[in-house]
């Protein structure tokens, strides 16, 4: 016999006229190796088919199952129920648009981020189908691999007070994304071009250093290190720049 779990779950479907946000309790029995992902699926199968939540990979790869578990942003598929008390709450991530119950739309937010951060390799080199790919140093490869592990789950955004109160703030994932291209030798952007993307209050200089992102990233990306690197780099770049602007008065 496993423990009797009580999951207090946020319920609200904005698409049903008149529906009101509320907490609803579900009880179920815990079994060996149960993750919250498994528990929610059991509830949906056996108790309440209307419960909405997202998942795809159930292996901490797709980033869709992030939610507030006992108040902290985590991946449901990477959270063992045995780590939790027998009664706990699950709520949708803040910042992102609510789709219903635990499901939020991180896609729109991250799409906007990709555009704002210009998150692609900028290069003038013509791609040659027939040539061998240029080799990369193993060390560089590993360095890029580390920020590249971001699965866009949104935990760092939801956990960040700055992102919560300043809707235009690009978040740790955004700064980390720029870091990923900044250290990629294939990206030919100058520091000035990176500065234009992120050298402002909505970008790297907007971060207050609360470190919730660093503590709560489910992929354990060293966000503090990466964010500080970008800040130093952009400060150094910014100090050297010479801006010519439009005189408005």
């Amino acid at each position: 016999m496993g423990r009797q779990l009580t999951i207090s779950c946020f319920r609200y479907n904005p698409n049903i006229p008149g529906d009101k946000p509320r907490m609803q309790d579900y009880k179920l029995e815990e079994h060996e190796g149960m993750t919250l992902f498994v528990a929610l699926n059991e509830i949906r199968e056996k108790q309440d088919p209307t419960l909405m939540f997202d998942f795809v990979c159930r292996a901490a790869i797709c980033g869709s199952c992030a939610m507030l578990i006992n108040g902290r942003p985590r991946l449901a598929c990477k959270t063992m129920t045995s780590m939790l008390p027998s009664r706990f709450t699950v709520m949708p991530l803040p910042v992102f648009k609510l789709i219903g119950d635990l499901a939020v739309d991180t896609g729109t937010w991250f799409r906007d981020l990709q555009i704002r951060a210009e998150a692609w390799v900028h290069t003038n080199k013509k791609f040659d189908f027939n040539a061998l790919e240029v080799r990369m140093e193993n060390k560089t490869c590993e360095e890029i691999y580390d920020p590249e592990q971001c699965i866009e789950c949104g935990c760092c955004v939801a956990a960040c007070i700055t992102a919560n109160i300043r809707p235009d703030f690009i978040g740790a994932t955004g700064i980390n994304r720029v870091y990923r291209f900044l250290i990629d030798p294939r990206d030919e952007r100058s520091n000035a071009e990176y500065y234009e993307v992120i050298g402002n209050e909505d970008g790297t200089f907007g971060c207050v250093g609360l470190m919730a992102c660093d503590d709560l990233c489910p992929k354990d990306i060293p966000l503090q290190q990466n964010l500080a690197y970008v800040r130093r780099k952009m400060a150094a770049a910014g100090l050297k720049l010479d801006f010519k602007g439009v005189k408005t008065s």
């Binding site: 108040g71 902290r72 234009e196 919730a212 709560l216 964010l227 800040r231 100090l239 720049l241 602007g245």
Partner: protein, 238 residues
């Protein structure tokens, strides 16, 4: 909306470095203030060694114009710092509510520390003004006057209708703790934002320093009360 935002950026391009300068200035003002605060506490703590040393340092402040330049500079620095740092604080009621709820719900250590920093900032702001007003009103600093002040029981140095309250001791203990907390974690935050050290080790180092400084402050306050107790009634003002 995107287009409008881009247009804003384009028009404001001449200010493209403002955010950088403001962020740098905030961090630099923070470092300078914490440097001042720790120096200040070391100076005050010389009272534990001997009142003579304390007096000689204080005379030195005036002789070498450190006070005449240093005090206005520090006041200016505090004003700049408040102006810059307030930008980051949750100032709208809505933001305060989000901040409080998120901090409580996540129960995340560094986030709570920051909430405490914003709150302690209010204490430091008000108390630093009172402190400066009193100190400057009774300049120059001497061990005996400071001791009398620390030990006095009310703003007018008299009982309040028979009710004696150790006003200054309470004031200084709260001020000391609020100031050290605010500054110590402020420095931690600056190092976390810019530095490459492991933040947990660094956190412990800074907590250690803060405890030492608070200890020095408490020792100084205790010494002042002892000196006051041994002064003739009314105190001898040098």
């Amino acid at each position: 909306m995107e287009l409008a935002k881009n247009l804003q950026t384009t028009i404001n391009r001449s200010y493209g470095k403002t955010d950088l300068y403001v962020d740098l200035a905030q961090s630099i003002s923070g470092v300078l203030l914490i440097g001042f605060l720790w120096m200040h506490m070391l100076f005050v703590a010389t009272i534990v060694v001997s009142p003579d040393l304390f007096n000689r340092l204080s005379i030195g402040l005036d002789e070498y114009y450190l006070a005449q330049v240093g005090i206005p500079a520090t006041i200016l620095l505090i004003i700049i710092h408040i102006f810059l740092a307030l930008r980051r604080a949750p100032v709208r009621l809505r933001d305060m509510r989000i901040t409080y709820r998120m901090a409580k719900m996540m129960n995340h250590f560094d986030t709570w520390i920051w909430v405490g920093q914003v709150v302690s900032a209010l204490f430091v702001g008000v108390m630093a003004s009172i402190h400066l007003w009193i100190i400057l009103g009774a300049w120059p600093l001497r061990a005996a006057t400071s001791a009398m002040r620390v030990a006095s029981t009310g703003p007018a140095d008299h009982t309040w209708g028979g009710f004696a309250f150790p006003f200054f001791i309470v004031f200084y203990v709260i001020f000391l703790i609020a100031g050290e907390y605010h500054g110590g974690f402020g420095l931690y935050r600056i190092l976390v934002k810019w530095g490459w050290w492991d933040r947990h080790t660094m956190g412990w180092v800074l907590k250690g320093i803060t405890v030492v400084i608070v200890g020095l402050g408490i020792a100084a306050l205790y010494t002042f009360t002892q000196i006051a107790a041994n002064l003739p009634a009314g105190g001898v003002i040098q």
